[in-house]
Assembly symmetry: C2
Homo-oligomer: 341 residues x 2
């Protein structure tokens, strides 16, 4: 039971107890109750059975069982804006208060104007500029406290709930199902590694050391009392998007995943890299085609293109060609969020 | 038992069986049989008991139990030259064969001369140049195969054994003892991350994802048949020495270690960072003062200074001031290598 967060230990205990008392029904329990029967659910169950059944030609020893998950749009809502971008925008007033000269400079001027449309139209370059200014120079602990506080107070305007409530129940089931079968689950996100690490253990059951993300440098130094500390630096070490995903996986994990889950062109190389390994491999893409329960976007469906999570026609074509499985939120998911019903 | 390599599962099983049958003697078994009784052994045992006994004010939940180990000079022999440097020098003839123009250029000319003294005097800059040329452009898999082959064939000239035999038995016991008590053990080395990952699981029981080391970039690309692969790049991402150790720990693990082990000035910041955390912390330095069974070096002992593992007077003074514990190889270790006796 070592190394497993408490609430998972409890689950482990319960499982062990059930097995010990010979409850046969356990084998019949559906590990993915929020999934409708269909090719997506079938593929997940078959992959797990194939790779974990001793004697199967595709059996994989437990220490090699690695599964990687993109976060935004794959594990939780990314529309209309990544949560981390909202966090950074929310920090701008405090930053401008500390450095008033920024109020007259773009992109801070636009953010301070409160013009939603203009803010939504900020370029990636502008967002990086905001990110660098809002994060740089903080100690690692200060940053963690800030993010924690923000997560406890900020709410998504549509669901009126904390952002951490907006994870997809079916994907939480996949995470738990894989772990129950000896898989180590990783978040591999274009989002900030330090940002996601603040809540990944509580929200996904994924410890900080299993979060790979876009990472800036830190700088080791000493406080006046001689105590050492790390400061966040505006230097990019790993841009964990596109080709940066397999490169980051190699750097941080050093093993090729057996299963990978994504939802946009930024995940393409991670899925390619995963599928290029020997034996049974699973590559899946979440398609946002459910305007009623979540959102519908992506040009592959003739839906409006957006800044986040571009699921292009080229990606769709590659998925078909390579045998990646597209998860239709609308058809494959019985329930989207845990708070429904 | 998930996630644990097979041979450790077996040990786990045996332990569970022993406990189940109520063998009381188990509690009396010495977890560190190669250590003489003394302050070093006592500190390790007390630290483990303190941090893992529920109800103790310094109790630490299992998921936070992280211990980091420098490699060269801490887990295995580093004198007179780091094994990875020897590996790189051994590769030079093949590199020169492929690029004959290098034979006339320093530092390759010196390496090809076979002049041992001149080779030993190469600067760190020269060695980096050799490293960059010998490793760059290889695929990650090619590199792994190369290192594996080298480890199987190369032998240390003094002991006439593979380098992987030259690990310190007492430190192997510390690794196992910590893991048996719920600790995740990490190598945090100035050596190459990809190099150490090739053998860390077999030699130390430490999986690739728990090896943090000096890391170069990789580049994602496609073979002619369309298969993706990663190439090693001569671009330094993480120089895992000195301040780079706590910075690397933050990047790769995202938690502050509770215990850290080193042997030179390159480990200073890792030990400082470890000790600066709350609660019980353990910081230890291996002192090479055993010319008979291993080597004696380091100016703190009035021993000849060497290029590797500088244990300076300043480091010794800081150890005393900060309460770090110095391990005397001569006095604290009953046995140095597993093959003795």
């Amino acid at each position: 039971m070592k190394r497993i967060p408490p609430f998972r230990s409890v689950r482990g205990l319960v499982l062990a107890a059930l097995l010990a008392f010979g409850v046969q029904a356990l084998a019949q329990t559906d590990p993915l109750p929020s999934w409708n029967d269909g090719p997506a659910k079938k593929a997940i169950v078959e992959f797990v059975q194939t790779t974990t059944t001793e004697g199967n030609p595709n059996f994989v020893p437990p220490e090699e069982r690695v599964a990687t998950f993109d976060q935004d749009g794959t594990l939780w809502v990314e529309h209309p804006m990544y949560s981390q971008v909202i966090y950074c925008l929310d920090r701008v007033p405090a930053v401008v208060k500390a450095k008033p000269e920024l109020a007259k400079v773009e992109p801070f001027k636009t953010v301070m104007s409160g013009n939603r449309q203009a803010i939504a139209n900020l370029s990636e370059r502008d967002l990086f500029k905001i990110l660098a200014v809002t994060l740089a120079g903080m100690s690692v602990e200060q940053f963690q406290e800030e993010v924690k506080h923000w997560l406890e107070t900020a709410k998504d305007p549509r669901w009126k709930r904390p952002y951490t409530d907006l994870t997809y129940q079916p994907m939480q089931e996949v995470l738990a199902y894989l772990r129950d079968n000896g898989y180590k689950t990783y978040v591999v996100t274009g989002g900030g590694q330090d940002f996601v690490r603040v809540y990944a253990e509580q929200v996904y059951g994924i410890p900080p050391e299993q979060v790979v993300g876009t990472a800036g440098g830190t700088k080791y130094g000493y406080r006046k009392d001689g105590k050492p500390f790390l400061t966040k630096e505006p230097k990019l070490l790993l841009n964990d998007n596109n080709a940066g995903k397999p490169e980051g996986i190699h750097l941080m994990i050093g093993r090729r995943p057996l299963a990978a889950f994504g939802n946009s062109t930024g995940d393409r190389q991670m899925l390619e890299y995963t599928k290029a390994g020997d034996g049974a491999r699973l590559a899946m893409l979440v398609l946002h085609d459910d305007a009623k329960r979540e959102y519908a976007y992506g040009p592959a469906q003739g839906l409006p293109n957006t800044k986040v999570g571009a699921f292009t026609q080229a990606l769709y074509d590659e998925a078909v060609k390579q045998g990646w499985i597209v998860i239709s939120m609308k058809n494959d998911w019985k329930q989207v969020f845990s708070f429904e019903q």
